[in-house]
């Protein structure tokens, strides 16, 4: 055993040579690492920043009806691209030595991260007109490294949901198994689907719109497609943007699985890092003590690039750890020999599809065959996570939403009878019923007479859930392997039959306990289900052991050889406006 352990450690502790290894031509997975690829191509001049940018914009317009973006930043982005191109020219000519880590890389940001000068709605009527005067630390860090923000992505209102269907901008659609060709044919008759969608979105946020019930208008009627698979949520827009190739990486947020769930449903990598590693400053909170900025990319290596840029202490967020973060690269040749993989037996949950179970088993077998030790472990308190979450989430929501009163920013109702009535009307009009329900429940839990029975008890249960993980890791387990979701992406028609709370209880069962414990987890696409939809598996690591976690995830990624969604056929369409956009004149 000792020999095995040292074997694993030696392989794990790789030197800086891996970065060069990575650029080795013909490496098996290299073409999938879109961010790595793009950086390399931009540097050697085989693609220009303008070309890369236009490629993304073109794709964005082609998949517009998936409703992934709620606010686009194209004009601003074009300006930034021009600057980036100039920088690039300067770099080539030697006038400027520094090449920023994400120079010219198009990215998408979930609409709950504040973006200076760019509308940030949290997919809520409450913030339909809100333009933040500052950048979230995560956004600032990406921009400081040359990243280009293409736009803001759709989500569940205030990140409360797991399907990206409860949005004031309408639901997000999963690109997998989506009848694009049918849609293309239908839209041929229209002038510009992009403009049309923009107008539609404008109408959606019209403050005059009736909000009597707090329910949004049914957006499905404006499109021709009757049903589709949900994108998962709440970071559905970001997952779709990455999966469709609209951007090379995206920010999501993860409170109970909001990054990992849509990543799994859309067949991309979703990383939730350790609580306290990434700054929440400028992330409009859902549950402060659980929220973590999420990273969505096509591959584990791409996620690592973004993590290296984003991680570290932020003076503006007192909950970030003060210890210096040391950037790392993942080795190309990974061995999992001697690695201890834990399989939590409680994750054999009712409702799991046979496809997911098979994928999970297959993965465990793969590790075993490669020399890892796979053992069953127990996380006995996991079953209480959902009820615990219901209380903690509602209480923090009730508190966090108190600031939305229409006085300083955001929506303000046209009531001027009294301040109290202004508040009531503003909040009634501004929030959907999911948000209002949680505020009501949260305030109930926080009442003096209920505090001990609900909030305090929930905190104690949370501690027990966290202890479960600590015990398992202390017993020698390196990484836990679980499914990310019970099934592949459900149909919208089925999903929308139940309310958000019910769906969250079903959907977040494998992801939520990780947030309770504050530990890192990453979902990696493993295979396709019998319906041709992606299935994601989740790796769970120890506090601040992202490097180990991602190394294991990368090994798995290499072994599975998952076929990513390819929508290149959309670009080959001889559409007139497509040609226009590909033309170098524009």
């Amino acid at each position: 055993m000792a020999a095995e352990d040292s074997d694993w450690l030696t392989n794990f502790d790789l030197s800086a040579t891996s970065a060069q290894n990575f650029m080795k031509p013909g490496y098996r997975k290299q073409e999938l690492n879109v961010i790595y690829q793009a950086i390399a191509k931009l540097k050697d001049g085989s693609i220009s920043m303008k070309e890369l940018y236009e490629k993304c914009i073109t794709r964005a317009k082609k998949v517009e009806e998936l409703n992934a973006f709620v606010t686009v930043n194209y004009q601003n982005t074009e300006h930034k691209e021009r600057i980036a191109t100039k920088r690039s020219a300067n770099q080539v000519s030697g006038r400027q030595r520094e090449w920023r880590k994400l120079e010219g890389i198009p990215l998408a940001i979930k609409d709950n991260f504040c973006t200076k000068g760019l509308r940030t709605t949290c997919a809520s009527h409450m913030l339909h007109n809100y333009v933040p005067p500052y950048n979230a630390t995560m956004v600032q860090k990406l921009e400081d490294e040359g990243g280009v923000v293409l736009g803001k992505t759709n989500m569940d209102e205030f990140a409360m949901g797991c399907g990206s269907v409860d949005s004031v901008h309408g639901p997000v659609r999963n690109p997998w198994k989506y009848p694009f060709e049918q849609a293309l044919n239908m839209e041929k008759n229209n002038t510009d689907p992009f403009e049309q969608a923009l107008n539609m979105e404008k109408n959606n946020t019209d403050p005059q719109r009736s909000t009597e019930t707090g329910r949004r208008a049914d957006h499905t009627s404006t499109h021709h497609i009757k049903d589709w698979h949900i994108a998962g949520g709440s970071s559905g827009g970001s997952a779709v943007a990455v999966a469709t190739g609209t951007c090379l990486g995206a920010l999501g947020s993860d409170t109970g699985g909001s990054t990992r769930n849509p990543a799994a449903y859309c067949g991309v990598v979703g990383l939730k890092s350790t609580y306290g590693l990434l700054s929440r400053h400028g992330l409009i909170p859902l549950v402060n003590s659980l929220d973590v900025p999420g990273i969505l990319t096509k591959t584990v290596d791409d996620a690592t690039i973004l993590l290296n840029i984003l991680a570290g202490h932020d003076v503006n967020d007192s909950t970030t750890v003060a210890d210096e973060f040391l950037p790392f690269t993942l080795p190309d040749e990974v061995s999992v020999k001697g690695l201890n993989i834990g399989i939590p037996k409680e994750y054999h949950a009712p409702g799991m599809s046979s496809d997911v179970l098979a994928a999970w088993r297959r993965a465990a077998d793969m590790f075993e065959e490669a020399g890892a030790r796979v053992s069953e472990v127990s996380l006995p308190h996991t079953q209480y996570s959902i009820s615990c979450y219901s209380v903690i989430c509602a209480t923090e929501v009730a508190s966090n939403m108190a600031r939305f009163d229409g006085v300083e920013f955001g929506h303000r109702a046209g009531v001027d009878v009294s301040t109290e009535q202004l508040y009531a009307a503003t909040r009634h009009e501004g929030f959907n019923d999911v948000v209002r329900g949680r505020i009501l429940a949260g305030n109930f839990f926080l009442l003096k007479k209920n505090y001990d029975d609900f909030f305090l008890k929930a905190q104690k249960v949370r501690r027990l859930i966290s202890e479960d993980f600590r015990r398992v890791f202390n017993s020698g387990i390196d990484v836990l392997l679980t499914p990310t979701t019970l099934t592949d992406a459900p149909q919208y028609s089925w999903f929308s039959q139940a309310d958000g709370r019910t769906r969250t209880q079903e959907q977040d069962v494998f992801t939520q306990p990780i947030n309770m414990a504050g530990i890192p987890a990453v979902t990696v696409p493993s295979s396709l289900s019998s319906s041709g939809l992606p299935i994601g598996l989740q790796f769970i690591g120890q506090h601040f052991q992202e490097q180990k976690l991602l190394t294991v995830a990368k090994w798995f990624e290499q072994e599975t050889d998952f076929q990513h969604l390819n929508l290149d056929f959309l670009d080959q369409d001889n559409d007139a406006d497509n040609d226009l956009y590909m033309s170098p004149k524009i």
Binding site: C114, N316, S318, T319, A398, A402, R403, E408, T419
Partner: protein, 539 residues
Amino acid sequence: MDHKLVRYPLPDCSIHFEESQKEGKEKRGKWKPVIGLEIHAQIKTDSKLFSRSGTSFSTPVNCQVSFFDAALPGTLPVLNRSCVEAGVRTALALKSNINKVSKFDRKHYFYADLPQGYQITQQRMPLAVGGKVDYAIVDESTQKEIGQGTARITQIQLEQDSGKSLHDEEEKRSLIDLNRAGIGLMEIVTEPDFSNGLEAHSFVSELRLILRSLGTCSGKMKEGALRVDANISVHQEGEPLGTRTEVKNIGNIKAIKAAVDYEIQRQIAILEEGGTIENETRSYDGLTGTTLPMRDKELKMDYRFMPEPNLPPVRLYDSETISKVADPSSVIDIDKFRSSIPPLPKQVKENLQKEYKISLFQANMLFGIVGLYDLFHDILEQPNKSLYRVLNFLLHDLHGAYKTRNISFEDGPMTLEHAAELIDMIEEKVTNHALAKKILVEYIDGNERISPRIIAEKKNLTMINDIEILTEACKKSMDKNPAMVKTYSKGKVGAIKALIGDAMEFTDNRASRIVITEIMESLLPQVEKKKRKEKKLKD
């Protein structure tokens, strides 16, 4: 603000004072009032409790508001170390036990000038618990000490101040100023250790002096830097405590006594008529001298406290535990502050009275005016200063000059060096008291801070000590008033006063009256002088 924190003691453990009790019995018969105080002291720091924006009082509306202060979504609190240090120093001075770990909580209520919809405060684990303050009970009219009191401190907590609402009745709207929102407050909660308004007043006066001498609060009640809430109840001797009311936001030191005493009398009147006291929040109206019920009854409020999730616990260290910290400069060592706590004002005042034989009134005045004591202390440290002259100059001349111009000692233009110089000039007879006052006026109203000696020379405000010039002035006076000289010669010696007065005027009042008198007497006929002496003997 949170009245739950006041733990009323058992009825038999009263700490009351002989004198005031007797007073109470005479006035109120068998009713026994019990008063506890909550003091909100704005922490004197450059920036707010959780943001970088400034804290000055006179900034134009909404000009010191950060994104966090306006509660913009996504902003997070970052604890200001200076505020914690001020809290620690205050806690040490009040002999309070500092918690090595304290935590922040959210207290929820909707109000237009509370942008977050909650106040960040310390409900469950405050910065410090326990402590006590000794204070002198001072009669206001005579300024005499009539007793000693001790008040126990329940706890000291850090919290955010709110913004300000201005209600425009005509336009039917409220205007919000967030300059104050988020300024650090120390809420100092006392045990119910007071039995009348005078005690409450005397305690707050003492506390204010302590905070000022520590420099942790300006104590400027006019600017709202110190606000007092009083919890008041009355009960029968030997019976359980009565229902209490809370009189909120008493913003004037003199109003404390009036507000508390009014509320006691109001409650007694109701109880004697067989009525009951309602547990309610009242406000004090300084114009009518009465307390009135506030509209939002606290009875119904449930503040739905919860831990503030965005702030880790505040950890404090002492000389033992600090060695275990990796970076000691990043944390607060309580023991380091312990040695820097200055002697408390009560002690200093007592020492002053003993050392300089000054009255309690003078000692109180030295302490009651911000910045005055420091100047007094520093001037006395300079060589050859007579206490009498220094006190006279500071308490009368300088204080008077500042007061008429509405200048505080803190912001006053007179530097320590120049004040000492002016006092020296009187001592050295370079100038006299009357001239010194003129120099002071020139100094204060002038644009530049010029040395008093230079002012005196430039403006001819020095004394004339040349005997020849003075003799000349005396002769001129005698020439001007031959009748007076005659009258004097006849034995009516009082006539010399008029002669001296005119002689003084000829010197522009720049001569010593004593010297002029001597010269005048020597110039007037000798014989007459004898007569005068004889006359004196007769009397």
